[in-house]
């Protein structure tokens, strides 16, 4: 049981490039979340999804896009990378109802935009 898997673990992008951060979970969880973590700022919610085909914006969605075509996958897309998107990104998933269980986190993707 792999849990939540994020790829890549590290990436350096040039300004204006695009990339997709992958997130896959094998626990059949309905809820999935993308966060960014910056020093002293905690985790900020970018986008989340309550099930396949359904996504919604979090606190800081600008510059990002997501899709949820399957229960397992929740990729995060950066279209035009900017230095402000330098951060550590975490994907998380929750089973059926976040009121009754914990969130499982991936190991993170450290992204640097130069």
């Amino acid at each position: 049981n792999a849990g939540v898997t994020q790829t890549p673990k590290f990436r350096i992008l040039k300004i204006g490039q695009s990339m997709t951060l992958q997130c896959t979970q094998d626990m059949n969880h309905n809820y999935m979340y993308w966060y960014r973590q910056d020093p002293g700022m905690g985790l900020k919610l970018i986008y989340y999804s309550v099930g396949a085909g359904i996504t919604d914006k979090g606190e800081v969605p600008n510059g990002y896009n997501v899709s949820r075509s399957t229960t397992e996958d929740f990729p995060l897309r950066l279209e035009l990378a900017a230095p402000s998107q330098t951060s550590v990104y975490f994907c998380a998933s929750i089973w059926k109802d976040p009121l009754n269980t914990e969130a499982f986190f991936g190991q993170g993707t450290r992204l640097t935009v130069v």
Binding site: Y35, M41, F90, P98, L99, E102, A103, G108
Partner: protein, 117 residues
Amino acid sequence: AQSVTQPDIHITVSEGASLELRCNYSYGATPYLFWYVQSPGQGLQLLLKYFSGDTLVQGIKGFEAEFKRSQSSFNLRKPSVHWSDAAEYFCAVVASRLTGGGNKLTFGTGTQLKVEL
């Protein structure tokens, strides 16, 4: 919208001393509260959670937290800190979809704990 405040950015304690990390929340309905811990370069691990019932909850690694509705607080405590407890600690709240919160999991800004030997 719900929010979580952790007023202490850094805390330093001596090994063996007691610990209390503060967390205040802002949410109109009954909150669902969590404490997570993050070691350097790692993801987040759940320490404990509160949904309802007994306001003093026990977690892993000897941690406990007390929910105080009157103070809108959910402080984390440990009677005797170990050097391995040095990490960053996050308080989090879920706003229920049933009360319009959308089931979003919102985190505080974290408290960095340093343990002196």
